[in-house]
């Protein structure tokens, strides 16, 4: 093997940096979706690598469902401050109050309501591009997504009619009112993300590590006990040593029992894992096409 060889992570990194710079050059008003989760933490590091010593030339955007893990929001705000970036937060609650997002009677989950909230934010700031941290290995509808994924003026994805995407020549052209979603981590796996976090020595929210938590058994999963959906007397509640593998809303994120305390522990745990990371998300289990349907409407 020649010495002029990038290893796997270096290759994924240069691919993603190239994409970030294409976005900065080809779009007038791009934004970077930053939730504080592990994928978007990697995105921010890649943005630093792409643009330093200049400032990262786009604001960070987060849709707050009101059902976030509090640790996540604390981390999100601190990290954005540390990088000197502008963080824009749009809340589902406000979108409901102003009639942008309309809950079904009895609908507790905010999952669906994130979509109109996000699209309204894109319209409000006239963003023509939003960079997201989705990865193709997460889910099989995501496995179909391009790096540059076109959204029409309703924010919709048309999976049957995607633009061809050839070599690394990304077509970023959009007309007014349309926008692009761009996914620099498309080719990353869960393992790659953690290896990158380790190599770059990146801080992550504490909920990724093992901690004690009161959990309630629902639909075959241990969910955190919250005041939003308090346990019924019939439900089993236990205090467990757990961590999260993927972060969704606090009412739908399955906790996995785990002693993993460090990034190294997590790497060992994932290497031995027999279920996928999305196996712990109730929102994906709704139906085989749950993700595809949400994405068509404008979900991340």
């Amino acid at each position: 093997m020649s010495t002029y060889h990038l290893d796997h992570l270096q290759y994924l990194e240069t691919e993603a940096i190239h994409i970030m710079r294409e976005v900065a050059s080809e779009f007038e008003r791009p934004a970077l979706l930053f939730s504080g989760g592990k994928d978007s933490i990697c995105l921010l590091r890649l943005a630093e690598k792409a643009f330093r010593p200049s400032d990262i030339p786009m604001p960070f955007l987060n849709v707050d469902t009101g059902h976030h893990f509090p640790e996540l929001n604390t981390f999100r705000d601190a990290r954005a401050r540390e990088l000197g970036g502008r963080l824009i937060v749009r809340k589902v609650e406000d979108a409901i109050a102003s009639g942008i997002a309309i809950p079904n009677p009895g609908e507790v989950s905010r999952n669906r309501l994130q979509i109109p909230t996000l699209l309204a934010a894109i319209e409000e700031f006239r963003f023509d591009c939003a960079i997201g941290g989705a990865r193709r290995d997460e889910e099989k509808a995501r496995a179909k997504e391009r790096f540059f994924s076109f959204r029409d003026s309703f924010g919709q994805w048309d999976p049957k009619n995607q633009r061809p995407e050839i070599w690394n020549l990304y077509n970023g052209r959009v007309n007014a009112g349309e926008h692009m979603r761009v996914f620099p981590l498309s080719n990353w796996t869960e393992m790659d993300v953690w290896e990158y976090i380790k190599r770059e020595n990146l801080a992550v929210p504490t909920i990724y590590f093992s901690h004690r938590r009161e959990c309630v058994r629902r639909q075959g999963q241990w969910l955190p006990v919250t005041s939003i959906l308090p346990p019924k007397p019939s439900e089993e509640v236990r205090e467990l040593v757990v961590r999260v593998r993927t972060i969704g809303d606090i009412i739908s994120t399955g906790m996995i029992e785990s002693p993993a305390n460090t990034v190294d522990d997590i790497l060992v745990e994932i290497a031995a894992a027999r279920v996928t990371e999305r196996g712990s998300r109730a929102d994906d289990k709704a139906s085989e096409a749950a993700m595809e349907d949400r994405k068509k409407q404008g979900y991340f």
Partner: protein, 439 residues
């Protein structure tokens, strides 16, 4: 833990192609299933849909057919990417559609592959779509090809049939540009010769498909010869107060060919201005050298005019610089390509206006002969064209450098990507705008 080994595990990116229903998606499902790369919840989901819709029979194709419309119709519409690793290698698979209508998506999946698996149905043998896909693989210069002769269970594991199909291929392969072709008899449905060797093919002594994929030697995709640096983004921190960054001016991009070293003389094209590389800046600290395909920021000695779309090159192995170009194209739009049509052309980091000045020929898939001076190139056609651009391109032949030798055509108005172009070698020596103006 295999993933953290210090030795770089190299990565094979392959795609599956072939006609509708040859069994591409089934093969990938089988590969993942038999190599134990599937997780319990994925297997559960397969079983769940088998009970609902499959009469209890697991459909391995459902693993990659990720769209509802695909599962309903039992076909692949768009590329699905899957990731898996064995202790010997990491793999990125692109499952590409077989349907002629979705050839554009096949081109998408194949354009980043360094290995192709072409499937044929043993009952049907070589058909037009097998020829088209082999041809596209050759055009894209995918150096290695496996012909997977599938559904051998339906032809009674006949060795004679296997050799017939092999001969059909060998009839036309010499006309194409593929260096390494292997033939494997298999059944994706039952798993014969996919991961485990089949008891039904005592006459076949070669490797299983996975054995082959793990072992095949893949050379580097990257050209390390002539230095090429298409400028993506000018890096100028806007911090007038800060003495450290006050004067910083860098050009950021991804090296798309060769190696760059501090102190090296370089030229900016198309202008022809010369300067030297003062620093190679990265967030992780300065480098003394960097190579393709690293992303870096160069600081140049002189404060010259350089911006996005310019290419910085080394002074040996010069590229072509021209606005009159010859290229092979794969046409991907239902509105045909005709001489005189105007498009946006994106090449490296610049998008320019382009007019197609003539159509030189069209490849006839049936016999691999060419039709000269065709009136148009229709959807899924391959052919050679001439293009004139509003600004010169700094380019290499696609056969020498995929990154500086390729372009896409974008239709104005719809913004659809309608063509993929592969440039022929430059015919004249470079003519920079300022020939002997060196700083």
């Amino acid at each position: 833990m295999p993933h953290s080994s210090p030795i770089p595990v190299d990565l094979l990116r392959f795609n599956t192609c072939g006609s509708v229903d040859d069994g591409k998606s089934t093969l990938i499902g089988r590969l993942l299933y038999d190599s134990k790369s599937l997780m319990e919840d994925q297997i559960e989901a397969l079983e769940r849909s088998a009970d609902l819709t499959g009469g209890g029979q697991i459909n391995l194709a459902n693993l990659t057919d990720g769209l509802r419309a695909e599962r309903e119709q039992g076909i692949t519409i768009d590329v699905a990417y899957r990731y898996f690793a064995t202790p010997r290698r990491k793999f990125i698979i692109a499952d590409t559609p077989g349907h002629v209508q979705y050839t554009r998506n096949m081109v998408t999946g194949a354009s980043t592959a360094n290995h192709s698996i072409l499937m044929v149905d043993a009952r049907l043998g070589v058909i037009e779509q097998s020829r088209r896909h082999t041809c596209i693989a050759s055009l894209l210069r995918i150096p290695h090809l496996v012909v997977a002769v599938n559904k051998m269970d339906l032809v009674g594991w006949s060795e004679t049939r296997f050799h017939e199909i092999r001969n059909q291929f060998e009839d036309f392969l010499p006309r194409l540009d593929i260096k390494d072709v292997k033939f494997i008899p298999l059944s994706a449905l039952n798993g014969d010769n996919v991961v485990d060797a089949s008891p039904h093919t005592p006459w076949y002594s070669g490797p299983t498909l996975l054995g082959h994929l793990e072992g095949v030697h893949i050379g580097s995709d990257w050209n390390l010869d002539g230095f090429r640096f298409p400028v993506q983004w000018v890096n100028r921190p806007n911090r007038p107060q800060d003495p450290e960054w006050h004067d910083f001016r860098g050009v950021s991009g991804q090296i798309s060919g060769g190696i760059v070293r501090v102190g090296q003389p370089v030229m900016v094209l198309p202008s022809g201005l010369k300067t030297t590389v003062q620093k190679i800046w990265t967030m992780d600290g300065p480098l003394t050298e960097a190579f393709c395909p690293a992303s870096v920021t160069l600081q140049l000695e002189h404060d010259i005019d350089v911006s996005r779309g310019d290419t910085i090159v080394g002074l040996t192995t010069m590229p072509g610089v021209s606005s009159d170009l010859r290229a092979r194209v794969a046409w991907m739009n239902t509105r045909p390509l005709q001489a005189g049509r105007k498009y946006f052309l994106k090449h490296t980091t610049q998008t320019v206006q382009a007019v197609v000045t003539s159509l030189e020929n069209r490849l006839k898939i049936a016999d691999f002969e060419t039709e000269e001076n065709p009136k148009e190139l229709g959807v899924n056609d391959l052919g050679e064209i001439r293009v004139r651009t509003s600004r010169p391109l700094v380019f290499d032949s696609y056969s020498v450098n995929r990154l500086t030798g390729s372009f896409i055509l974008i239709e104005p108005g719809t913004n659809q990507t309608v063509g993929a172009g592969m440039l022929f070698p430059p015919t004249e020596p470079i003519k920079p705008e300022y020939t002997d103006f060196a700083i």
